[in-house]
């Protein structure tokens, strides 16, 4: 209960203690309801109050994971210290922690990776232990060593385990020795492109090339032939050198259509180790996970046990302690191959917590203090099913997600729903900046069955209000409702296979389209009726609008639809195409959420904007649709309005015509004023000077004098 109250309060960001109290009182009925459920389903760990761990822990991280760790610390009665960069000074994790120390400026290398400053913070605050979260310093053996030297506990595995598992080549050798299945064709350091080709040919195509030091999908290339191998070698080695300062590469057999399934392990310092079942993480884009679930639909108990036992063998082989994850690739015949071991808490750990009832952070803290595990392998259940969606501030329409930044002008987590957990480190008003990971939150739902958890996820996504940044909820909702996903027939190639031409948003069926148009029309009428309601006594009486029947025209994209609406009581009947749609519900024009009952089915729509010209942007089935509602008259007259090319060319200068670049007057970093010449294009014997439409800094120049450019080619980008 306490835990969740804190969580909720963080979401509301009330700084003063008094306010907290007020909030807690105000929202407690709601919270106690969800807390009861959550506590039961999530952290049913047998807490031993007398078991003393640490007095004060420093969390060397930011965002949701810092908040997540702080929550458990509070539950365990441990004081917390947050570290933060200057731009994060009012971040949620800073407000949640008992103490906070600024460790540098915004770039991660100056703050969250700044070991000196963090060591200072530890000394100043007297923290006895450090939880590194994931990313940043979590798998940095240097950091672990420095902590050890100062006698501060590192809440994670010992240095040698980090080191052994941190190197992809070494970890495979250890895994092989520990009788863990490894990927065939595994090989060592690669020096030249030709050597890479030779190795690739020996293994047999396809092969995967990646940086030894890189985690996740960084620096990873897949080659299907010699030429691609050379290219992949070049690219990966460059990236490896620039990102990790270590240009070693490895080449291995690429498993086509694999699943990515990982085993959570938990070990103590006394040689005990457990496997906490698997997580299915196959839904990825650009080798980064998007949707995860536990358990996997694919594993049978035998395979699960085999994988779990191998994972534990590996953990024992490196004398692993704390929580860790052994990643496997699983092929269609349920052969599984060791991929790598992550020696930290994983992003997707909550789904394991949901199905096992363990609080992994608590266990990590206990283990770090030197306690033995509380459980035996037989104690580890699979209770129901949990799904996690990673909600990112990114545009899913661009290669399944390109980061977007901005300020969360409105933000509401679907916490009033049952069996929904949201791990986030932001709140309304937070900035999603260029400096850090664009993850907004992890949305986790669970239930007795997979279908139940999925159904809940649909509701949770529909109820999740995020404004101010572009987010990937449209994609998430499409994934979790896609028949292939629902049937469990997935692989790491799911996204490119299902959306070969890129993600295009929800494709509306005729019925759904009618529902959408009807909802927009009803919203329009609601606003119109409200406009006519002037309160108070008036010197000049208003003519009451006593209308209960309207004829409108609703536009969606190129399509136009005449609709007739009649209102009786609170029910609107919308007729179009000879079909009737009945709509009613709480039509609150101030609320971003629009809970409507459409033809007897409950739907949660969201209204993003509504303007005077009839444009209504609705989120329906996860996707945003821009609908325009006009009176019949306005729609008729609208046909006389000239088409105007909507252009947002303010920050991108494209060549308006094919021609030759005669001169480029700017270089990256220059500041140009509105109207200043940027470059000159000669076409049809005319020199056309292209000018800046706004004052801005030049981001990049993509053309040089003498070059031939085509129409629409990108010439210069402004910031």
């Amino acid at each position: 209960m306490t835990l969740w109250m804190i969580g909720n309060m963080a979401a509301h960001s009330v700084p003063s203690t008094l306010k907290r109290l007020l909030f807690a009182v105000k929202y407690s009925p709601l919270q106690s309801r969800c807390c009861a459920v959550q506590r039961e389903a999530q952290y049913s760990t047998i807490s031993i109050p007398s078991e003393k761990t640490f007095d004060k822990i420093l969390i060397a991280n930011r965002g949701e994971i810092a908040c997540r760790v702080i929550k458990t610390c509070k539950k365990m009665g441990i004081q917390t210290v947050a570290v933060h960069s200057d731009v994060d000074s009012s971040a949620v994790h800073v407000k949640m922690a008992d103490e906070a120390v600024c460790v540098g400026s915004a770039p991660t290398s100056k703050s969250y990776l700044n070991m000196d400053a963090i060591m200072d913070a530890i000394r100043v605050t007297g923290a006895q232990a450090v939880h590194p979260g994931y990313g940043f310093l979590s798998e940095n053996k240097e950091f672990a060593k420095r902590l050890a030297a100062e006698g501060v506990a590192f809440i994670g595995p010992d240095t040698h385990a980090i080191q052994a598992m941190g190197d992809k080549i070494e970890s495979k050798l250890i895994a092989k020795a520990a009788k863990v299945n490894t990927i065939p064709g595994f090989d060592g350091v690669v020096k030249t492109a030709e050597e890479a080709v030779k190795i690739a040919q020996e293994i047999g195509y396809p092969v995967m090339i990646k940086a030894s030091a890189g985690g996740g999908g960084k620096g990873m290339r897949i080659a299907w032939n010699d030429e691609e191998t050379r290219e992949g070698f070049r690219f990966s080695s460059q990236e490896a050198a620039s990102s990790f300062g270590d240009d070693r590469l490895l080449i291995e057999k690429y498993i086509d259509n694999p699943r990515h399934i990982e085993i959570q392990v938990l070990a103590d310092k006394h040689g005990n180790a457990l496997w906490l079942n698997e997580r299915e993480c196959s839904i990825q884009r650009r080798n980064q996970k998007v949707v995860e679930e536990a358990p996997s639909t694919f594993l049978d108990p035998v395979t699960r046990r085999a994988m779990g036992e191998q994972a534990v063998q590996l953990a024992k082989a490196v004398q692993y302690s704390s929580a860790g994850t052994v990643e496997f690739l699983v092929d269609s015949k349920k052969n599984f191959y060791f991929l790598e071991m992550n020696t930290r808490l994983q992003v997707e750990h909550p789904i394991t917590e949901c199905i096992t009832g363990l609080d992994l952070v608590e266990q990590m803290i206990r283990v770090a203090k030197g306690y033995q595990l509380q459980h035996t392998q037989d104690d580890i259940p699979i209770n129901g099913w949990a799904i996690e969606c990673r909600v990112y501030a990114e545009d899913p329409y661009k290669s399944f997600g390109l980061p977007s930044i901005g300020r969360l002008s409105q933000y509401q987590e679907p916490l009033d729903l049952d069996k929904v957990r949201v791990d986030s480190g932001i709140q309304e008003g937070s900035d999603i900046s260029i400096y850090y990971d664009p993850m907004i939150s992890k949305l986790i739902t669970y239930g007795a069955t997979r279908a139940e958890a999925l159904g809940r996820m649909e509701d949770a996504l529909d109820n999740y209000v995020i404004r101010g940044v572009t987010h990937n909820i449209p994609l998430l909702r499409e994934i979790i409702t896609h028949p292939r996903f629902v049937s469990g027939h997935i692989s790491t190639n799911f996204l490119p296979e299902v959306y070969p031409d890129g993600f295009k948003g929800h494709q509306l069926e005729a019925d759904a389209k009618r529902e959408l148009l009807a909802s927009a029309a009803v919203l329009y009428i609601t606003a119109e009726l409200r406009s006519a309601k002037v309160l108070g006594t008036q010197r000049v009486a208003s003519t009451p609008v006593e209308c209960s029947h309207w004829e409108l025209c609703v536009e969606l994209g190129e399509e136009r639809q005449d609709v007739e609406i009649s209102k009786s009581g609170t029910v609107y009947t919308v007729e179009m195409d000879g079909a009737k749609v009945e709509v009613w519900g709480a039509l609150n024009l101030a609320s971003p959420l629009l809970p409507l009952t459409i033809n007897g089915t409950q739907r949660m729509l969201q209204c993003l904007s509504r303007d005077a010209a009839g444009v209504i942007v609705l989120q329906y089935l996860g996707t945003l649709f821009k609908v325009r509602v006009l009176s019949k008259l306005a729609a008729e007259l609208n046909s006389y309005m000239p088409e105007k090319v909507s252009e947002d060319t303010s920050s991108i200068l494209r060549s308006p015509m094919p021609g030759t670049v005669v001169a480029v007057s700017v270089k990256p970093g220059d500041t140009v004023a509105e109207g200043q010449e940027i470059c000159v294009i000669e076409a049809m014997k005319m020199q056309n000077s292209l000018t800046a439409v706004k004052q801005a800094k030049v981001k990049s120049v993509h053309c040089k004098p003498g070059e031939t450019v085509g129409e629409g080619d990108l010439l210069v980008e402004l910031e």
Partner: protein
């Protein structure tokens, strides 16, 4: 029209004047000439009626039909081809369905020269549609110039029709909306037309501050005609199809040898970003008219009415936690004042006035708990939110409108001062800055001020301070009320002394916070930003009965 004005002014203007008149003639000729071209069957029959023995009733019907046709089908099509709606279509769209009550449908021009007396050159209703109607049930008077009749040119009759509805609007106390689309004066009528303009100007001036007057420029509006919109409270434009200028590009070329297009000289972009003549521009006729309906909802019908209150779905005690972290810790870092405004007002609904002009100040209408309020805010994102000539004038005019029409003013202050420099001093920042000061000081409507961050120097006084009769003045914890920024102050106080950094720190400690103002009662309270909306709503409730009267005067002498 320009012709006449120039002539009246000086003989040197005569040449230009003549040139314009030539141009105007050609333009109007276009109207007149094409009217003579193949006579439509309607016109032929019109003439026939006059000699026939049709009953009066039939003649009434025929006239009405003719009036509805304006300049005829061909002209209507030409209007549509330009992407413009006809005068009647515009009125229909602007007003509630079936609410339009037309006046003077039978008025015809009285010109007898240049063949204008012929039947084919007479159009029932002449070149303007006038009357009254309702917008969301509320009364409004409207005139809509008809470009299909003699290019919408202004005849004596045309002016008389407009004056008639303006007079009635004044007696009833209801706003006037003008939809301008006119080639200019009716050259054939000469001085009659000029008199007509002046009659309208006079009424614009008399109505100013009594009833809201709104102009929507939906086509050309040139020469003397521009002064009617300029006298009204708000001027909106339609992008690409509307122009406002004293003299057109041809005259400009001949007088100053400048090459300029109509669009550059007086298009919507020019007037909404450079000149500040127009308050907003819209994509096309439809969007403009629909937005005008929305805008109208904010306004009271006259100065005798309180600010309208609409049913609100947004609870008045809603807390806005996101405001607690909106002001950056570094006082040099910018943020967007619009974020604060959107978060505080009802339903994030803010109708910004002049959004692209003098962006260092934000003004516009919104609602608090359903009641219309005027919002003024410094915009730290642009030029640090300083006050300069343009922003002072922009703010002053807006404040005066709100005061004239009983609309409470909410001011968000984050101002580092007035912009220094020769450009500003030579431009008369003293005189123009005084306008904003004057406007805030004389305003007697409820005034609520929130200092979000900086309130430095004279600009602090100007921005609806307690000293200018602010009713409720709040400071956020991030507020810094001081004579100037710490650096500048320290350089003066400790001139030549060492340890400037230490002195600066001391100054910051002492003055860069809300206390100096709060201990003196210059702010009423220091409030949690999250509670701002709730507080404002409560205060407005209390201030609804505010009564404050300035000393009797013929009128004040604002430094124009």
């Amino acid at each position: 029209m320009m012709a006449a004005i120039s002539v009246a002014r000086s003989s040197c203007g005569l040449i230009n004047g003549l040139k314009v008149s030539l141009r105007s003639v050609t333009r109007v000729k276009y109207g007149a000439v094409s009217a003579t071209v193949p006579q439509t069957s309607l016109h032929r029959s019109c003439r026939w009626y006059s000699v026939s023995h049709l009953s009066v009733k039939e003649r009434i019907d025929q006239k009405r039909q003719a009036a509805l046709q304006g300049g005829g089908q061909q002209r209507i099509e030409a209007q549509h081809k330009r992407g413009k709606l006809t005068a009647r279509e515009r009125v229909q769209l602007l007003l509630d369905p079936e609410s339009f009550v037309e006046t003077d449908m039978f008025v015809e021009h009285r010109c007898a020269d240049f063949g204008m007396e012929q039947d084919r050159n007479k159009f029932p209703g002449d070149s303007v549609v006038t009357g009254r109607g309702r917008i969301n049930g509320r009364l409004v008077y409207v005139f809509s110039q008809d470009f299909t009749v003699f290019g919408g040119s202004l005849s004596g009759a045309h002016a008389q029709k407009i004056c008639k509805i303006m007079d009635q609007a004044m007696t009833v106390g209801a706003p006037v909306i003008g939809l301008n689309d006119s080639g200019g004066a009716r050259i054939q009528e000469g001085v009659e037309s000029l008199a007509g303009y002046a009659d309208i100007f006079l009424r614009n001036v008399m109505a100013s501050g009594v009833i809201p007057q709104i102009s929507l420029i939906m086509g050309p509006c040139a020469g003397g005609a521009v002064y009617s919109p300029a006298l009204t409270d708000f001027t909106f434009m339609v992008k690409d199809t509307s122009y406002l200028f004293i003299t057109g590009p041809d005259v400009v070329k001949s007088v100053t040898n400048e090459d300029v297009t109509q669009e550059e000289l007086g298009g919507a972009k020019t007037h909404t970003t450079v000149s500040g003549v127009a308050h907003r521009a819209f994509e096309n006729d439809i969007e403009a008219l629909l937005n005008l309906r929305e805008f109208f909802n904010f306004l009271p019908l006259s100065n005798q009415d309180p600010a309208p209150i609409r049913e609100s779905h947004d609870s008045s005690d809603r807390l806005v936690p996101s405001l607690d972290s909106i002001v950056p810790l570094e006082s040099t870092k910018a943020y967007d004042m619009l974020d604060i405004i959107h978060a505080i007002v009802d339903e994030r609904d803010f109708f910004e006035i002049m959004p692209n002009y003098a962006k260092n100040i934000v003004v516009g209408f919104a609602r608090m708990n359903g009641r219309t309020v005027g919002i003024v805010g410094n915009q730290p994102k642009v030029a640090s939110g300083c006050l300069d000539i343009n922003s002072s004038v922009k703010g002053a005019r807006f404040v005066r409108f709100c005061d004239a029409f009983n609309i409470p003013i909410i001011t968000f202050v984050d101002v580092p001062g007035f912009l220094p420099g020769t450009a500003q001093e030579y431009g008369g920042i003293i005189r123009h800055g005084a306008k904003l000061l004057f406007a805030f000081a004389e305003a007697t409507v409820p005034k609520i001020t929130i200092i979000t961050r900086k309130a430095y120097g004279g600009a602090y006084d100007v921005m609806s301070s307690k000293h200018l009769r602010g009713d409720v003045n709040y400071a956020w914890p991030t507020a810094e009320v001081a004579v100037m920024g710490a650096k500048g102050a320290v350089q003066i106080i400790f001139r030549g002394k060492e340890n400037q950094a230490e002195a600066e720190a001391e100054y910051v400690e002492k003055f860069a916070n809300p206390f100096p103002a709060a201990v003196r009662g210059f702010v009423d309270d220091i409030i949690e930003p999250a509670t701002t909306r709730k507080k404002i709503c409560q205060d407005l409730e209390m201030l609804a009965s505010k009564k404050q009267v300035n000393p009797w005067k013929k009128h004040a002498n604002i430094p124009l």
